[in-house]
């Protein structure tokens, strides 16, 4: 056999393998992080198995890898048909050209009737409906009642002063505990805690498009965070996953999380009945009468690729399937989250769930994450995270860190498109 014939046969074999791989494609590719988590895999698989409108291939990615992979797949034209998106990251993901404006797929009136008031906004970007809301809630504070009882704390603290006293009690009663799981590592986590404490102290991070992180209120909030670490009421090296673990292992009294905190507490305590000790609470306020704050939180589902932009397409039908009561109610009950649909929220089972009712009641005034909606939100989050960390670790005073943060944010926002 000549050399040329061998090469030709090699090329033919490669082509055949390529064709075979293409032939096993599914009707709907669903990119999701919940499927990649052991606690959510069975639920997502159940939703897929019960879909009768076509075959669905779940594509599980770690939560932190979702946006990155979506943007990389967009460059190679290999995007899935449906994708789960963290609501606060939607403005970033919406930059993908292949995202479908769902106002062109579904009837607007149908959407407005389908979702509970306010929820449809979770999926809006610049007036376009870039995703449908799936589950919702807030980032709020949770308390571990078992830890509080051990520390001799009989009532949930409502003011910052009471909160600090409770933390001291936990520190002095439970050896090697971290009384409060303040996020001190991972810039994306630090930003959430920082935002809540700045709001609580009466300040704001961005006002009318301008950074305001060196106002007296913002510096006071940062000093409050610094003091918590200095007094061992919080600890360095704590990210949300660490807090969840320590909380479930009764080495932590309080931390900020989404409603899914209950699911994590059960997982890390190893006790199926542990949910009874997970108590949603209002974020402590500076003075009685102040409005407690929390951050809007939710998951949305987006459609990609223009060939799916038809209400009868398998992708569109699969999205509606995920939002049907039969699928959504068990899913939200399992995760301790709030369904986005009006019918889901009217369901008797949802309304009688004490935990979720308590979560909703303790959300205070949820605010939008103003950082995430910035076009250069990731850079802004990095700047805030680095400066907060510098203050917490004693590299700078709170005031120095706030001033440096302000200067860096001004430059970053001036350079933004």
């Amino acid at each position: 056999m000549s050399h040329y014939r061998k090469i030709a046969m090699g090329c033919a074999a490669a082509l055949a393998i390529g064709s075979a791989t293409h032939a096993i494609a599914q009707d709907v590719e669903f990119m999701t992080w919940t499927y990649a988590e052991s606690s959510g895999e069975a639920m997502i698989q159940g939703m897929i198995d019960s879909f009768e409108g076509g075959s669905v291939e779940p594509q599980g990615y770690a939560w932190g890898e979702m946006t990155r992979n979506a943007l990389l797949r967009a460059r190679t034209n290999s995007l899935p048909d449906v994708m789960q998106v963290q609501a606060r990251l939607l403005p970033t993901v919406a930059n993908i050209e292949q995202m479908v404006d769902l106002n062109t797929v579904f009837d607007r009136e149908m959407l407005e009737a389908m979702f509970a008031p306010g929820f449809l906004a979770y999926g809006e970007v610049d007036g376009r409906q870039m995703a449908l809301p799936w589950i919702g809630g807030t980032i709020g504070m949770v308390a571990n009642e078992n830890v509080l009882e051990t520390a001799g704390i009989s009532e949930i603290p409502t003011t910052v002063e009471e909160f600090r006293e409770a933390l001291v009690l936990i520190r002095d009663t439970i050896p090697n505990s971290v009384p409060y799981g303040l996020a001190t590592t991972n810039n994306n986590s630090i930003v959430l805690d920082y935002l809540i404490w700045v709001w609580t102290h009466g300040g704001d991070v961005i006002v009318d498009g301008e950074p305001m992180v060196n106002s007296a209120e913002s510096i006071a909030a940062l000093q409050f965070m610094v003091d918590l670490v200095a007094e061992r009421l919080a600890a360095p090296e704590i990210d949300r996953p660490d807090a969840r673990r320590l909380f479930g292992q009764e080495a932590m009294g309080f931390y900020f999380d989404a409603p899914s905190a209950r699911r994590f507490a059960i997982e890390f305590s190893g006790d199926e009945d542990y949910a009874q000790y997970v108590q949603p609470m209002m974020t402590p306020v500076m003075a009685e009468g102040d409005e407690p704050v929390s951050i809007q939180w939710g998951h949305v589902i987006a459609m990609l690729n223009s060939e799916n932009a038809d209400a009868e397409s398998a992708a569109a039908q699969f999205m509606l399937h995920l939002l049907s009561d039969d699928q959504l109610l068990p899913y939200t009950a399992n995760g301790g989250t709030i369904p986005s649909t009006a019918s889901g929220q009217a369901d008797e089972g949802f309304q009688s769930d004490e935990y979720r009712a308590a979560w909703a009641a303790n959300s205070g005034t949820p605010r939008r994450n103003t950082i995430a909606s910035l076009s250069n939100g990731a850079l802004v989050a990095d700047i805030i995270g680095e400066e907060v960390q510098a203050a917490i670790l004693g590299q700078k005073s709170a005031e120095e860190a706030a001033n440096d943060m302000q200067a860096r944010l001004i430059e970053a926002m001036a350079n933004a498109e």
Partner: protein
């Protein structure tokens, strides 16, 4: 013996007895080039094209919210070279590369000398010494991450047990602690490779020379300084350069262990490029940093290639 097998002109080196005077036939040359074509095509596609694209992109502003890149000339370079934090990444990289390369070579050499001695179980120990090398870097990072962890870490547990500290210390939350941790992890991963290089070098050493030195009254230090190190000089040269290149490119353990923090204490160039490209989505700036990063790798890479070419001559 054919004519071709005779001593080649001038240099006294023998050439293959199968070599043909006048070189390959034209058809064979063409087929040789054809065989080379896939490798050249792969190189162009996988290395050259992305590099040229990155080089071009470094002259553009291109962030995620922009549909098209916008020409900004040398602005990205100006921003990097006037930004103290960015320049700090070059310093951090230099610290990491120097420390990781020095300790990898020093400990790799020490371990190789030890394993070059005849003792029972030497072969088993040599085999076990390769374990860190075969372990995936990310797994090793998590292993060391748990050792240094402030809440569950072995280091704190031991220190608390021995009464050396009263409260758990957050080792990875100090600049020095985090840099030490990433260097220790990288050194631990690199020792087997360097040990293998040095063991190969030591295998060709004349034992009688060492014994004669001993008879002349040389101690361990003199033996290492006057005999072993001069013998290993060519190996040392290559390992230093290889070590520097590898550490300049290093990313995975640093990212897994500290994510470049705390603050920016371990934010070496590779981490900075990753954060710019895949967290902040500033592709133009990431490309610029990548180009500058490449220039920092080029001197040792050039030196390494020169050594290789010298060896081949």
């Amino acid at each position: 013996m054919t004519d071709a097998a005779q001593i080649s002109a001038g240099e006294g080196r023998k050439i293959s007895p199968r070599a043909r005077r006048g070189g390959l036939k034209a058809g064979e040359s063409r087929f040789g080039l054809l065989l080379l074509l896939p490798a050249v095509a792969a190189f162009c596609l996988v290395v050259l094209k992305p590099f040229i694209e990155a080089l071009a992109l470094s002259f553009y502003r291109f962030t995620i919210e922009m549909s098209e890149p916008r020409w900004t000339g040398l602005d990205n370079y100006r921003r990097i070279l006037t930004d103290e934090l960015m320049l700090g990444s070059f310093v951090t990289t230099a610290i990491f590369v120097s420390a990781a390369t020095f300790f990898s070579i020093a400990l790799g050499l020490a371990w190789a000398i030890l394993l070059n001695q005849p003792f029972r179980g030497r072969d088993t120990l040599r085999g076990l010494s390769l374990l860190p090398w075969v372990m995936p870097a990310v797994v090793a990072s998590f292993l060391w991450g748990w050792i240094f962890n402030s809440r569950y870490g072995l280091l704190n547990a031991a220190a608390l047990e021995l009464g050396m500290i009263d409260f758990p210390v957050a080792w990875l939350s100090t600049s020095a602690g985090a840099m030490t941790a990433v260097v220790v992890t990288k050194v631990w991963l690199s020792i087997p490779l360097f040990m293998s290089f040095f063991l190969a070098g030591l295998a060709s050493m004349d034992r009688e020379q060492l014994e004669a030195a001993r008879v002349d009254g040389a101690g361990n230090f003199r033996v290492i300084k006057d005999h072993i190190l001069p013998h290993l000089r060519p190996v040392m040269l290559v390992t230093v350069v290889l070590g520097m290149i590898g550490n300049l490119q290093h990313f995975d353990t640093i990212w897994a262990l500290t994510g470049g923090g705390p603050v920016r204490a371990t934010s070496v160039l590779s981490v900075e490029v990753y954060r710019r490209a895949f967290e902040q989505w500033d592709l133009g700036m990431a490309a610029t940093l990548g180009v500058l990063w490449l220039f920092t790798i080029m001197p040792p890479a050039y030196f390494y290639l020169r050594q290789l070419m010298k060896g081949a001559e």
